[in-house]
């Protein structure tokens, strides 16, 4: 049955072409998560690069904040179908982080890991050249805990479940492994423009 007078979400024509297939536009910033907000105190926080690297590298919060940062303005798309345009972040590019380690030649995939146990997998080639960053500011404010603060990964060209909130590091792997949602029916890659939502898409 169709619910009389229920129109669902509208798509204004001028933004139509910026929305990946099946997505609708939002202007707020929905809060979605798989678990409670962690509260790691900043003096215990660290960000680590590990796995297939010559030697692992770790930054404290102070060290991390001293790294060169950039402003990124990107569109983000969640697999639950909302897209938010022109989000602005202040972040450290993953390229900057990778300068501090020597990757093993066999490293081809990355597992991002977060407080609370969340993980998500991304091809290494899609994390370099400005495609991914670790953000600590959203708009003109410090990244709120409910949105992943103190720092979250942002990989805007993939569905937003890949942009791990409360991120604590990247582990380099030679084979693709499924993270938290990828192991339960979600697509290993997650390109919104190809609607790679579920495994087999």
């Amino acid at each position: 049955m169709i619910s009389r007078g229920f129109l669902g979400r509208r798509r204004p024509a001028e933004v139509e072409k910026r929305l990946p297939p099946g997505q609708y536009l939002v202007t707020d910033f929905p809060v979605l998560s798989a678990g409670p907000t962690p509260h790691t105190p900043l003096d215990r926080w660290s960000f680590t690069l590990e796995g297939l690297v010559k030697s692992p590298m770790s930054w404290t919060w102070e060290e991390f904040r001293r790294l060169p940062s950039q402003t990124f303005t990107v569109d983000i798309s969640c697999v639950t179908k909302w897209t938010k345009l022109d989000t602005t972040w202040i972040a450290v590019s993953v390229d900057t982080l990778l300068k501090a380690v020597q990757l093993d030649p066999s490293a081809r995939y990355v597992m991002a890991f977060s407080d609370g146990g969340y993980t998500t997998n991304i091809p290494l080639a899609e994390m370099v050249n400005g495609q991914a960053f670790v953000a600590y500011q959203f708009g003109d404010k410090d990244l709120a805990p409910e949105h992943g603060g103190p720092a979250r990964l942002v990989v805007p060209h993939l569905y937003f479940w890949k942009s791990a909130k409360w991120v604590r590091g990247l582990r380099f792997m030679d084979r693709d492994q499924p993270g938290f949602w990828e192991s339960l029916g979600y697509n290993m890659h997650g390109d919104p423009w190809k609607e790679e939502r579920y495994s087999g898409d």
Partner: protein, 247 residues
């Protein structure tokens, strides 16, 4: 007894009644009505012409003794996709797709006995009202108390019905607390629920109380942990969290 397999059915809206500026009650006639247990809810599903669908759950407000139909009391949430539709678009005579009744954890009926302590915040009072209406319909004398937290007196759902119930039932007591503005001349509670308030309201019930707490997540967590700290056994406390409250 196992409930039958849940299926969607198309209900007809037979009445819509404003309760407060932010809440309305919807009476739905169900082709496949079955007696629910007070505390259970129904899932409501809306479908747009392009096939887009969305669902929400709403506690049944009415007692199972009212056969053939149910009342759902819905708070209008700002930007709420479904609550705005129900409040602003739905009319009597319309159809609404529902599935239920659902839930076996947050339920009470007179067979479970008492004494009964009900604690509700905001629209959390809805499933508790089903319990009280059922208790009244069965003319039960199980001692019961309702502690009802609202922002202001304009937010008190079922106000006149609750007052009438309490007046005519010696075993039922109702206490209200207001967290923002109390009515002028109010001498009752005017703060968030705390252990002193709970202790006062529950004291006449004695021991072995069955407690149900329902409302916004933060209220439910605070009250439940307070009750446990006060020494109530955790297995006699049932909770239902509604998520954030509308503003």
């Amino acid at each position: 007894m196992q409930p039958p397999q849940l299926e969607w059915q198309v209900a007809k809206v037979t009445a819509i009644r404003p309760e407060t500026p932010q809440t309305k009650s919807f009476t739905l006639a169900l082709p496949r009505w079955m007696a629910h247990q007070p505390g259970q809810h129904y899932d409501v599903r809306l479908t747009a012409p392009d096939g887009y669908r969305t669902e929400r759950s709403y506690s049944v407000a009415s007692e199972p003794e009212r056969a053939g139909e149910i009342d759902l009391t819905v708070e209008r949430i700002a930007d709420g996709e479904v609550s705005s539709y129900l409040h602003d678009v739905l009319m009597t005579g319309d159809q609404l797709e529902v599935r239920g009744p659902v839930g076996g954890y947050f339920v009470w009926d007179i067979a479970l006995g008492g004494p009964l302590m009900l604690i509700g915040g905001g629209s959390g009072v809805v499933p508790l009202m089903a319990m009280l209406r059922h208790r009244a319909a069965r003319r039960s004398t199980i001692p019961a108390r309702l502690l009802y937290s609202s922002r202001t007196q304009d937010d008190v759902i079922y106000k006149s019905e609750l007052e009438a119930m309490a007046r005519s039932d010696r075993e039922l007591g109702i206490a209200y607390t207001f967290t923002r503005q109390a009515p002028s001349g109010w001498i009752g509670y005017h703060r968030r629920i705390d252990s002193a308030m709970l202790e006062e309201v529950m004291r006449p019930l004695g021991a072995d109380i069955r407690t149900y707490v329902c409302g916004p997540t933060l209220l439910v967590e605070a009250v439940a942990s307070t009750l446990v700290r006060m020494g109530l056994p955790a297995e006699r406390i049932r909770t239902e969290r509604f998520g954030p409250t509308g503003n």
